[in-house]
Protein backbone atom coordinates (compact mmCIF):
# COMPACT_ATOMS: atom_id res chain seq x y z
CA UNK A 1 0.00 0.00 0.00
CA UNK A 2 1.34 3.45 -0.92
CA UNK A 3 2.42 5.59 2.02
CA UNK A 4 0.42 8.66 3.01
CA UNK A 5 2.19 11.97 2.36
CA UNK A 6 1.66 14.82 4.80
CA UNK A 7 2.74 18.42 5.31
CA UNK A 8 4.26 19.08 8.74
CA UNK A 9 5.85 22.48 8.24
CA UNK A 10 5.02 25.68 6.36
CA UNK A 11 6.96 28.88 5.73
CA UNK A 12 6.21 32.04 3.77
CA UNK A 13 7.83 35.43 3.31
CA UNK A 14 5.65 38.48 2.85
CA UNK A 15 5.21 38.88 -0.89
CA UNK A 16 6.05 42.29 -2.32
CA UNK A 17 9.27 44.01 -3.26
CA UNK A 18 12.33 42.09 -2.05
CA UNK A 19 14.51 43.25 -4.92
CA UNK A 20 17.29 44.46 -2.63
CA UNK A 21 17.81 40.90 -1.39
CA UNK A 22 19.45 37.77 -2.70
CA UNK A 23 17.13 35.08 -4.05
CA UNK A 24 18.89 32.36 -2.03
CA UNK A 25 18.29 34.34 1.18
CA UNK A 26 14.59 34.79 0.43
CA UNK A 27 14.18 31.08 -0.37
CA UNK A 28 16.23 30.03 2.67
CA UNK A 29 14.19 32.30 4.98
CA UNK A 30 10.92 30.65 3.95
CA UNK A 31 12.57 27.22 4.28
CA UNK A 32 13.81 28.06 7.78
CA UNK A 33 10.28 29.08 8.79
CA UNK A 34 8.97 25.72 7.52
CA UNK A 35 11.65 23.82 9.44
CA UNK A 36 10.92 25.81 12.62
CA UNK A 37 7.18 25.23 12.18
CA UNK A 38 7.84 21.49 11.98
CA UNK A 39 10.30 21.55 14.90
CA UNK A 40 12.89 20.05 12.56
CA UNK A 41 15.48 22.81 12.14
CA UNK A 42 18.17 20.97 14.11
CA UNK A 43 17.50 17.80 12.09
CA UNK A 44 17.63 19.45 8.66
CA UNK A 45 20.56 17.33 7.48
CA UNK A 46 18.30 14.28 7.89
CA UNK A 47 16.07 15.54 5.08
CA UNK A 48 16.21 13.12 2.15
CA UNK A 49 15.55 15.53 -0.71
CA UNK A 50 15.15 19.24 -1.46
CA UNK A 51 13.21 20.57 -4.45
CA UNK A 52 13.51 24.28 -5.25
CA UNK A 53 10.88 25.73 -7.59
CA UNK A 54 11.89 28.75 -9.63
CA UNK A 55 10.88 29.90 -13.08
CA UNK A 56 13.49 32.32 -14.36
CA UNK A 57 16.23 33.35 -11.92
CA UNK A 58 18.63 33.30 -14.86
CA UNK A 59 16.68 36.09 -16.53
CA UNK A 60 15.37 38.03 -13.50
CA UNK A 61 18.54 37.85 -11.36
CA UNK A 62 21.27 36.59 -13.71
CA UNK A 63 21.61 33.71 -11.30
CA UNK A 64 21.54 29.94 -11.80
CA UNK A 65 22.02 26.88 -9.55
CA UNK A 66 19.65 28.33 -6.96
CA UNK A 67 18.95 24.91 -5.40
CA UNK A 68 22.64 24.49 -4.57
CA UNK A 69 22.83 28.07 -3.36
CA UNK A 70 19.82 27.71 -1.05
CA UNK A 71 20.96 24.41 0.47
CA UNK A 72 24.36 25.91 1.20
CA UNK A 73 22.73 29.00 2.76
CA UNK A 74 20.89 26.63 5.12
CA UNK A 75 24.04 24.62 5.94
CA UNK A 76 22.32 21.47 4.74
CA UNK A 77 25.04 19.86 2.64
CA UNK A 78 25.17 17.00 1.57
CA UNK A 79 21.36 16.77 1.26
CA UNK A 80 20.45 16.28 -2.45
CA UNK A 81 18.78 19.28 -4.06
CA UNK A 82 17.36 19.95 -7.52
CA UNK A 83 15.64 22.81 -9.29
CA UNK A 84 12.12 22.41 -10.69
CA UNK A 85 10.98 24.66 -13.55
CA UNK A 86 7.47 24.63 -14.96
CA UNK A 87 6.83 28.33 -15.60
CA UNK A 88 4.33 29.82 -13.12
CA UNK A 89 3.36 26.27 -12.09
CA UNK A 90 6.91 25.46 -10.94
CA UNK A 91 5.80 25.56 -7.29
CA UNK A 92 3.05 22.96 -7.51
CA UNK A 93 5.24 20.85 -9.79
CA UNK A 94 7.82 20.77 -6.98
CA UNK A 95 5.05 19.72 -4.53
CA UNK A 96 4.09 16.97 -6.97
CA UNK A 97 7.68 15.76 -7.34
CA UNK A 98 8.18 15.85 -3.57
CA UNK A 99 5.05 13.74 -3.15
CA UNK A 100 6.27 11.33 -5.83
CA UNK A 101 9.66 11.02 -4.11
CA UNK A 102 7.93 9.87 -0.92
CA UNK A 103 5.44 7.62 -2.74
CA UNK A 104 8.32 5.97 -4.61
CA UNK A 105 10.00 5.02 -1.35
CA UNK A 106 13.15 7.01 -2.20
CA UNK A 107 12.50 9.63 0.49
CA UNK A 108 10.71 10.00 3.83
CA UNK A 109 11.25 13.72 4.40
CA UNK A 110 11.28 16.27 1.56
CA UNK A 111 11.72 20.04 1.72
CA UNK A 112 9.92 21.94 -1.06
CA UNK A 113 10.74 25.62 -1.50
CA UNK A 114 9.47 27.92 -4.24
CA UNK A 115 10.23 31.55 -4.94
CA UNK A 116 11.11 34.29 -7.35
CA UNK A 117 12.69 37.74 -7.28
CA UNK A 118 11.05 39.54 -10.23
CA UNK A 119 11.53 43.17 -9.29
CA UNK A 120 15.28 43.43 -9.78
CA UNK A 121 14.35 44.31 -13.37
CA UNK A 122 11.97 46.99 -14.68
CA UNK A 123 8.29 46.21 -15.24
CA UNK A 124 8.98 46.58 -18.96
CA UNK A 125 11.68 43.92 -18.72
CA UNK A 126 9.66 41.66 -16.37
CA UNK A 127 6.78 41.62 -18.87
CA UNK A 128 9.24 40.49 -21.54
CA UNK A 129 10.79 37.79 -19.32
CA UNK A 130 7.42 36.34 -18.35
CA UNK A 131 6.44 36.34 -22.06
CA UNK A 132 9.33 34.00 -22.87
CA UNK A 133 7.12 31.13 -21.66
CA UNK A 134 4.97 31.59 -24.79
CA UNK A 135 5.67 29.72 -28.04
CA UNK A 136 8.68 31.56 -29.46
CA UNK A 137 7.90 31.84 -33.17
CA UNK A 138 4.12 31.99 -33.17
CA UNK A 139 3.40 34.03 -30.01
CA UNK A 140 6.44 35.67 -28.36
CA UNK A 141 7.86 36.98 -31.64
CA UNK A 142 4.50 38.62 -32.46
CA UNK A 143 4.92 40.77 -29.33
CA UNK A 144 2.27 38.89 -27.39
CA UNK A 145 2.30 38.77 -23.60
CA UNK A 146 0.47 36.78 -20.91
CA UNK A 147 -1.88 39.72 -20.18
CA UNK A 148 -2.52 39.81 -23.95
CA UNK A 149 -3.77 36.23 -23.86
CA UNK A 150 -5.70 37.04 -20.68
CA UNK A 151 -7.43 39.87 -22.55
CA UNK A 152 -8.31 37.74 -25.56
CA UNK A 153 -9.60 34.92 -23.33
CA UNK A 154 -11.69 37.39 -21.33
CA UNK A 155 -13.26 38.83 -24.49
CA UNK A 156 -14.24 35.36 -25.74
CA UNK A 157 -15.77 34.49 -22.35
CA UNK A 158 -17.67 37.80 -22.19
CA UNK A 159 -19.07 37.40 -25.69
CA UNK A 160 -20.15 33.80 -25.04
CA UNK A 161 -21.51 33.99 -21.50
CA UNK A 162 -22.34 37.65 -20.77
CA UNK A 163 -19.66 38.35 -18.18
CA UNK A 164 -19.14 42.08 -17.59
CA UNK A 165 -16.15 44.17 -16.53
CA UNK A 166 -18.10 44.91 -13.33
CA UNK A 167 -18.20 41.18 -12.55
CA UNK A 168 -14.41 41.11 -12.75
CA UNK A 169 -14.25 44.14 -10.45
CA UNK A 170 -16.37 42.24 -7.89
CA UNK A 171 -13.74 39.48 -7.86
CA UNK A 172 -11.02 42.06 -7.21
CA UNK A 173 -13.04 43.50 -4.30
CA UNK A 174 -13.48 40.01 -2.80
CA UNK A 175 -9.83 39.04 -3.20
CA UNK A 176 -8.53 42.34 -1.84
CA UNK A 177 -10.85 41.91 1.17
CA UNK A 178 -9.17 38.56 1.82
CA UNK A 179 -5.65 39.74 1.04
CA UNK A 180 -5.98 42.76 3.30
CA UNK A 181 -6.24 40.33 6.23
CA UNK A 182 -3.38 38.07 5.09
CA UNK A 183 -0.05 38.91 6.74
CA UNK A 184 1.83 37.45 3.75
CA UNK A 185 -0.03 39.36 1.02
CA UNK A 186 1.71 41.81 -1.32
CA UNK A 187 -1.22 44.25 -1.42
CA UNK A 188 -2.84 44.43 2.01
CA UNK A 189 -5.48 46.95 1.04
CA UNK A 190 -9.16 46.77 0.26
CA UNK A 191 -10.82 48.33 -2.77
CA UNK A 192 -14.44 49.19 -3.52
CA UNK A 193 -16.57 48.53 -6.56
CA UNK A 194 -17.32 52.28 -6.64
CA UNK A 195 -13.63 53.09 -6.96
CA UNK A 196 -12.76 50.53 -9.63
CA UNK A 197 -16.00 50.10 -11.62
CA UNK A 198 -18.97 52.31 -10.81
CA UNK A 199 -17.50 55.68 -9.83
CA UNK A 200 -16.64 58.63 -12.10
CA UNK A 201 -12.87 58.09 -11.67
CA UNK A 202 -12.98 54.31 -12.22
CA UNK A 203 -11.46 54.53 -15.70
CA UNK A 204 -8.41 56.27 -14.23
CA UNK A 205 -8.09 54.22 -11.03
CA UNK A 206 -8.63 50.96 -12.88
CA UNK A 207 -7.09 51.54 -16.29
CA UNK A 208 -6.94 49.00 -19.10
CA UNK A 209 -3.97 46.64 -19.22
CA UNK A 210 -5.10 44.30 -22.02
CA UNK A 211 -8.66 45.13 -23.02
CA UNK A 212 -11.10 44.17 -21.61
CA UNK A 213 -8.81 43.32 -18.67
CA UNK A 214 -8.09 46.19 -16.32
CA UNK A 215 -5.41 46.68 -13.67
CA UNK A 216 -7.62 45.33 -10.88
CA UNK A 217 -8.16 42.16 -12.92
CA UNK A 218 -4.42 41.56 -13.24
CA UNK A 219 -1.98 40.34 -10.59
CA UNK A 220 0.99 42.43 -9.45
CA UNK A 221 4.65 41.61 -10.12
CA UNK A 222 5.86 40.20 -6.80
CA UNK A 223 8.93 38.87 -5.03
CA UNK A 224 8.79 36.23 -2.33
CA UNK A 225 9.05 32.59 -1.35
CA UNK A 226 7.12 29.82 0.37
CA UNK A 227 8.13 26.43 1.74
CA UNK A 228 6.67 23.10 2.84
CA UNK A 229 8.13 20.15 4.72
CA UNK A 230 6.65 16.89 3.43
CA UNK A 231 6.83 13.60 5.32
CA UNK A 232 5.93 9.97 4.87
CA UNK A 233 3.14 9.80 7.46
CA UNK A 234 3.60 6.03 7.78
CA UNK A 235 7.33 6.23 8.50
CA UNK A 236 8.72 6.15 12.08
CA UNK A 237 10.09 9.63 11.34
CA UNK A 238 6.54 10.99 11.29
CA UNK A 239 6.62 11.10 15.11
CA UNK A 240 9.54 13.57 15.08
CA UNK A 241 7.49 16.58 14.06
CA UNK A 242 5.88 19.22 16.23
CA UNK A 243 2.60 19.52 14.32
CA UNK A 244 0.00 17.10 13.05
CA UNK A 245 0.33 16.49 9.34
CA UNK A 246 -2.08 17.88 6.77
CA UNK A 247 -2.37 15.09 4.21
CA UNK A 248 -1.76 15.54 0.49
CA UNK A 249 -4.78 13.57 -0.68
CA UNK A 250 -4.34 14.17 -4.38
CA UNK A 251 -1.83 15.77 -6.72
CA UNK A 252 -1.83 15.64 -10.50
CA UNK A 253 -0.84 17.61 -13.56
CA UNK A 254 -1.67 17.74 -17.25
CA UNK A 255 -0.58 19.59 -20.38
CA UNK A 256 -2.34 21.30 -23.28
CA UNK A 257 -1.16 22.75 -26.62
CA UNK A 258 1.66 25.25 -26.17
CA UNK A 259 0.13 27.52 -28.86
CA UNK A 260 -3.19 28.83 -27.58
CA UNK A 261 -4.52 29.25 -31.15
CA UNK A 262 -4.25 25.48 -31.72
CA UNK A 263 -6.91 24.62 -29.13
CA UNK A 264 -10.12 23.41 -30.74
CA UNK A 265 -12.06 25.59 -28.30
CA UNK A 266 -9.69 28.20 -26.80
CA UNK A 267 -12.21 28.76 -23.97
CA UNK A 268 -11.72 25.20 -22.71
CA UNK A 269 -8.77 24.74 -20.36
CA UNK A 270 -8.24 21.03 -20.90
CA UNK A 271 -5.11 20.77 -18.77
CA UNK A 272 -7.00 22.25 -15.80
CA UNK A 273 -9.91 19.85 -16.24
CA UNK A 274 -7.70 16.77 -16.61
CA UNK A 275 -5.36 17.70 -13.73
CA UNK A 276 -8.43 18.27 -11.55
CA UNK A 277 -10.04 14.98 -12.53
CA UNK A 278 -6.83 13.06 -11.80
CA UNK A 279 -6.39 14.77 -8.44
CA UNK A 280 -10.01 13.98 -7.47
CA UNK A 281 -9.49 10.35 -8.48
CA UNK A 282 -6.30 10.03 -6.44
CA UNK A 283 -8.04 11.59 -3.43
CA UNK A 284 -11.26 9.58 -3.88
CA UNK A 285 -13.21 12.85 -3.82
CA UNK A 286 -15.55 14.86 -6.02
CA UNK A 287 -15.88 18.64 -6.51
CA UNK A 288 -18.71 18.91 -3.97
CA UNK A 289 -16.38 17.51 -1.26
CA UNK A 290 -14.01 20.49 -1.52
CA UNK A 291 -14.62 23.18 1.10
CA UNK A 292 -12.42 26.00 -0.30
CA UNK A 293 -9.93 26.56 -3.10
CA UNK A 294 -6.91 28.57 -4.16
CA UNK A 295 -7.18 29.13 -7.91
CA UNK A 296 -4.50 30.75 -10.09
CA UNK A 297 -6.04 34.18 -10.78
CA UNK A 298 -3.08 35.79 -12.55
CA UNK A 299 -6.01 37.39 -14.41
CA UNK A 300 -9.40 37.45 -12.68
CA UNK A 301 -11.02 35.61 -15.58
CA UNK A 302 -8.90 32.57 -14.68
CA UNK A 303 -10.48 32.31 -11.24
CA UNK A 304 -13.82 31.90 -13.01
CA UNK A 305 -12.67 29.60 -15.82
CA UNK A 306 -10.65 27.34 -13.51
CA UNK A 307 -13.52 27.08 -11.01
CA UNK A 308 -15.70 25.77 -13.86
CA UNK A 309 -13.11 23.34 -15.23
CA UNK A 310 -12.60 21.69 -11.82
CA UNK A 311 -16.35 21.27 -11.42
CA UNK A 312 -17.30 23.84 -8.77
CA UNK A 313 -19.72 25.55 -11.16
CA UNK A 314 -21.32 24.88 -14.53
CA UNK A 315 -19.53 26.30 -17.56
CA UNK A 316 -20.39 29.98 -17.96
CA UNK A 317 -22.12 30.20 -14.55
CA UNK A 318 -19.29 30.89 -12.08
CA UNK A 319 -19.59 34.69 -12.29
CA UNK A 320 -23.29 34.43 -11.45
CA UNK A 321 -22.31 32.52 -8.29
CA UNK A 322 -19.66 35.13 -7.49
CA UNK A 323 -22.28 37.90 -7.87
CA UNK A 324 -24.31 36.13 -5.15
CA UNK A 325 -21.29 35.94 -2.83
CA UNK A 326 -20.92 32.17 -3.10
CA UNK A 327 -17.13 32.42 -3.46
CA UNK A 328 -16.64 34.80 -0.50
CA UNK A 329 -15.22 33.50 2.81
CA UNK A 330 -18.74 32.91 4.13
CA UNK A 331 -20.07 31.53 0.84
CA UNK A 332 -20.66 27.91 -0.08
CA UNK A 333 -17.32 27.66 -1.97
CA UNK A 334 -14.78 30.24 -0.75
CA UNK A 335 -12.19 30.89 -3.47
CA UNK A 336 -8.83 32.58 -3.01
CA UNK A 337 -9.11 32.97 0.73
CA UNK A 338 -5.48 34.17 0.75
CA UNK A 339 -6.32 37.08 -1.54
CA UNK A 340 -5.27 35.04 -4.55
CA UNK A 341 -2.59 36.11 -6.96
CA UNK A 342 -4.46 39.40 -7.38
CA UNK A 343 -3.89 40.59 -3.82
CA UNK A 344 -1.43 38.15 -2.23
CA UNK A 345 0.86 38.51 -5.26
CA UNK A 346 2.50 36.24 -7.80
CA UNK A 347 6.24 35.58 -7.54
CA UNK A 348 5.96 33.14 -10.42
CA UNK A 349 8.12 30.23 -9.21
CA UNK A 350 6.73 30.46 -5.67
CA UNK A 351 2.99 30.69 -6.27
CA UNK A 352 2.19 26.95 -6.33
CA UNK A 353 3.93 26.39 -2.99
CA UNK A 354 2.27 29.50 -1.54
CA UNK A 355 -1.16 28.18 -2.56
CA UNK A 356 -0.52 24.93 -0.66
CA UNK A 357 0.72 26.89 2.38
CA UNK A 358 -2.69 28.61 2.36
CA UNK A 359 -4.46 25.23 2.18
CA UNK A 360 -2.50 24.12 5.26
CA UNK A 361 -3.16 27.35 7.16
CA UNK A 362 -6.90 27.04 6.51
CA UNK A 363 -7.04 23.33 7.37
CA UNK A 364 -5.09 23.93 10.59
CA UNK A 365 -7.42 26.80 11.48
CA UNK A 366 -4.46 29.23 11.49
CA UNK A 367 -5.73 31.82 9.00
CA UNK A 368 -6.26 35.35 10.32
CA UNK A 369 -9.58 36.40 11.82
CA UNK A 370 -12.09 37.35 9.17
CA UNK A 371 -10.67 35.11 6.47
CA UNK A 372 -10.71 31.70 8.18
CA UNK A 373 -13.11 29.28 6.51
CA UNK A 374 -15.34 27.56 9.07
CA UNK A 375 -13.99 24.08 9.89
CA UNK A 376 -12.82 23.01 6.43
CA UNK A 377 -11.87 19.39 5.73
CA UNK A 378 -10.65 19.52 2.13
CA UNK A 379 -8.94 22.32 0.19
CA UNK A 380 -7.85 22.40 -3.43
CA UNK A 381 -5.28 24.48 -5.31
CA UNK A 382 -4.77 24.88 -9.04
CA UNK A 383 -1.44 26.28 -10.28
CA UNK A 384 -1.57 27.37 -13.93
CA UNK A 385 1.57 27.21 -16.08
CA UNK A 386 1.95 29.20 -19.28
CA UNK A 387 -1.48 30.13 -20.59
CA UNK A 388 -2.91 26.83 -19.36
CA UNK A 389 -0.44 24.54 -21.11
CA UNK A 390 0.97 22.88 -17.97
CA UNK A 391 -1.28 22.79 -14.92
CA UNK A 392 -0.99 21.18 -11.47
CA UNK A 393 -3.86 20.50 -9.04
CA UNK A 394 -3.35 19.67 -5.35
CA UNK A 395 -5.93 18.49 -2.82
CA UNK A 396 -5.11 18.63 0.89
CA UNK A 397 -7.08 16.97 3.68
CA UNK A 398 -7.43 17.39 7.42
CA UNK A 399 -7.78 13.84 8.78
Amino acid sequence: MAPRVGIVGIGHTRFGNSSEYDLADVLAYAATDALLDAGFLEHRKEIDQVFVANMASGLFCHQSAVASSMVSRLDMEPVPAELVENGPASGASAVKLGTMAILSGMADVVLVVGGEIMRKVSGWNATDIVSTMLDTETEYNMGLTLPGFGGMFTRMYMEKYGLTERDLALLAVKNHDNGAKNKYAHIQATCTVEAIADGPEADVVNNYIAEPLRMYSTCPVSDGAAALLLVNMDSPKAKLFAKKAVRIAGVASATDTHCVHNRADPLQLNAVRIAGEKAYKMAGLKPSDINFAELHDAFSILELAISEEVGFFERGKSFLAARKGETAITGRMPINTSGGLKSKGHPVGGTGVSQVVELVRQLRGEAEEGRQVKDPKYGMSVNFGGFGNNVVAVICAKD
Binding site: S122, G123, W124, N125, T127, D128, S131, D135, E137, T138, E139, N141, M142, G143, L144, T145, P147, G148, G151, M152, F153, R155, M156, E159, N207, Y208, I209, A210, E211, P212, L213, C259, V260, H261, N262, P266
Partner: protein, 126 residues
Amino acid sequence: MIDFSMYDVKAPEILGYTCDKCGTSYYPAPMICRKCGARRDPVTKRNWTTFEMGGPCTLLTWTRVWNLPEGYNKKFLQFGIVQFENGLRASGRVEVDEPKTGLKLTASVEESDERPGKPVKIFVFQ
Protein backbone atom coordinates in the same frame (compact mmCIF):
# COMPACT_ATOMS: atom_id res chain seq x y z
CA MET B 1 32.16 40.59 -63.13
CA ILE B 2 30.30 40.30 -59.91
CA ASP B 3 28.07 43.08 -58.70
CA PHE B 4 27.65 42.91 -54.94
CA SER B 5 24.96 45.57 -55.03
CA MET B 6 22.67 43.10 -56.75
CA TYR B 7 20.93 40.69 -54.50
CA ASP B 8 17.45 39.42 -54.00
CA VAL B 9 15.44 41.07 -51.28
CA LYS B 10 13.28 38.21 -50.08
CA ALA B 11 9.87 39.14 -48.87
CA PRO B 12 9.39 37.97 -45.27
CA GLU B 13 7.34 34.80 -45.00
CA ILE B 14 5.86 32.54 -42.33
CA LEU B 15 5.51 28.93 -43.34
CA GLY B 16 2.82 26.37 -42.73
CA TYR B 17 3.54 22.67 -43.19
CA THR B 18 1.61 19.87 -44.87
CA CYS B 19 2.34 16.21 -44.22
CA ASP B 20 2.79 14.57 -47.65
CA LYS B 21 1.60 11.21 -46.36
CA CYS B 22 -1.88 12.23 -45.18
CA GLY B 23 -2.26 15.85 -46.31
CA THR B 24 -2.82 17.38 -42.87
CA SER B 25 -1.64 20.99 -42.53
CA TYR B 26 -0.11 22.61 -39.47
CA TYR B 27 1.09 25.91 -38.04
CA PRO B 28 3.51 25.66 -36.38
CA ALA B 29 4.90 22.35 -37.61
CA PRO B 30 4.82 19.38 -35.24
CA MET B 31 7.66 16.86 -35.05
CA ILE B 32 5.21 14.01 -35.66
CA CYS B 33 2.00 14.23 -37.71
CA ARG B 34 -0.92 14.01 -35.31
CA LYS B 35 -3.03 12.16 -37.87
CA CYS B 36 -0.70 9.59 -39.47
CA GLY B 37 2.45 9.66 -37.30
CA ALA B 38 4.84 10.70 -40.09
CA ARG B 39 8.05 12.20 -38.77
CA ARG B 40 9.26 15.64 -39.88
CA ASP B 41 12.93 16.29 -40.56
CA PRO B 42 13.48 19.98 -39.63
CA VAL B 43 16.67 20.19 -41.75
CA THR B 44 15.68 18.59 -45.07
CA LYS B 45 11.90 18.99 -44.61
CA ARG B 46 11.68 15.74 -46.62
CA ASN B 47 8.15 14.30 -46.96
CA TRP B 48 6.60 17.56 -45.81
CA THR B 49 5.54 20.45 -48.05
CA THR B 50 5.81 24.04 -46.90
CA PHE B 51 3.51 26.84 -47.93
CA GLU B 52 3.33 30.57 -47.26
CA MET B 53 0.77 31.57 -44.64
CA GLY B 54 -1.39 34.63 -45.23
CA GLY B 55 -4.46 35.88 -47.05
CA PRO B 56 -8.11 36.07 -46.01
CA CYS B 57 -8.93 35.23 -42.40
CA THR B 58 -11.56 35.82 -39.71
CA LEU B 59 -10.87 37.48 -36.35
CA LEU B 60 -11.81 35.10 -33.49
CA THR B 61 -10.83 37.36 -30.58
CA TRP B 62 -8.66 40.38 -29.96
CA THR B 63 -7.18 42.67 -27.32
CA ARG B 64 -5.52 46.07 -27.08
CA VAL B 65 -2.43 45.82 -24.86
CA TRP B 66 -1.28 48.94 -22.98
CA ASN B 67 1.66 47.52 -20.98
CA LEU B 68 3.99 46.33 -23.69
CA PRO B 69 7.18 44.39 -23.02
CA GLU B 70 10.75 45.56 -23.47
CA GLY B 71 11.52 46.85 -26.95
CA TYR B 72 8.13 48.25 -27.91
CA ASN B 73 7.96 52.03 -27.91
CA LYS B 74 4.31 52.36 -28.84
CA LYS B 75 1.45 53.48 -26.64
CA PHE B 76 -0.43 50.27 -27.32
CA LEU B 77 -0.57 47.36 -29.73
CA GLN B 78 -3.57 45.26 -30.78
CA PHE B 79 -3.35 41.49 -31.02
CA GLY B 80 -5.75 38.83 -32.18
CA ILE B 81 -6.27 35.20 -33.09
CA VAL B 82 -7.55 34.55 -36.62
CA GLN B 83 -8.74 31.53 -38.57
CA PHE B 84 -7.68 31.14 -42.20
CA GLU B 85 -9.87 29.67 -44.93
CA ASN B 86 -7.96 26.35 -44.71
CA GLY B 87 -8.91 26.08 -41.03
CA LEU B 88 -5.47 26.89 -39.60
CA ARG B 89 -5.26 29.55 -36.93
CA ALA B 90 -2.59 32.08 -35.98
CA SER B 91 -1.89 34.84 -33.47
CA GLY B 92 -0.57 38.23 -34.55
CA ARG B 93 -1.00 42.00 -34.73
CA VAL B 94 -4.39 43.51 -35.54
CA GLU B 95 -4.05 46.79 -37.41
CA VAL B 96 -7.59 48.07 -37.87
CA ASP B 97 -9.14 51.01 -36.03
CA GLU B 98 -12.13 49.20 -34.62
CA PRO B 99 -11.54 45.46 -34.27
CA LYS B 100 -14.58 43.26 -33.79
CA THR B 101 -14.90 39.52 -33.36
CA GLY B 102 -15.93 37.96 -36.68
CA LEU B 103 -14.32 40.72 -38.77
CA LYS B 104 -12.97 39.56 -42.17
CA LEU B 105 -9.29 40.51 -42.44
CA THR B 106 -6.27 39.86 -44.63
CA ALA B 107 -3.06 38.51 -43.13
CA SER B 108 0.36 39.59 -44.38
CA VAL B 109 3.85 39.00 -43.01
CA GLU B 110 6.24 41.76 -41.96
CA GLU B 111 9.66 41.88 -40.37
CA SER B 112 9.87 43.35 -36.87
CA ASP B 113 13.07 44.70 -35.33
CA GLU B 114 11.40 46.22 -32.27
CA ARG B 115 13.00 43.82 -29.83
CA PRO B 116 16.77 43.52 -29.35
CA GLY B 117 18.39 40.77 -31.41
CA LYS B 118 17.70 39.47 -34.90
CA PRO B 119 14.55 40.74 -36.65
CA VAL B 120 11.59 38.36 -36.51
CA LYS B 121 8.63 37.65 -38.78
CA ILE B 122 5.22 38.74 -37.59
CA PHE B 123 1.67 38.41 -38.86
CA VAL B 124 -0.22 41.64 -39.46
CA PHE B 125 -3.99 41.35 -39.82
CA GLN B 126 -5.60 44.28 -41.68
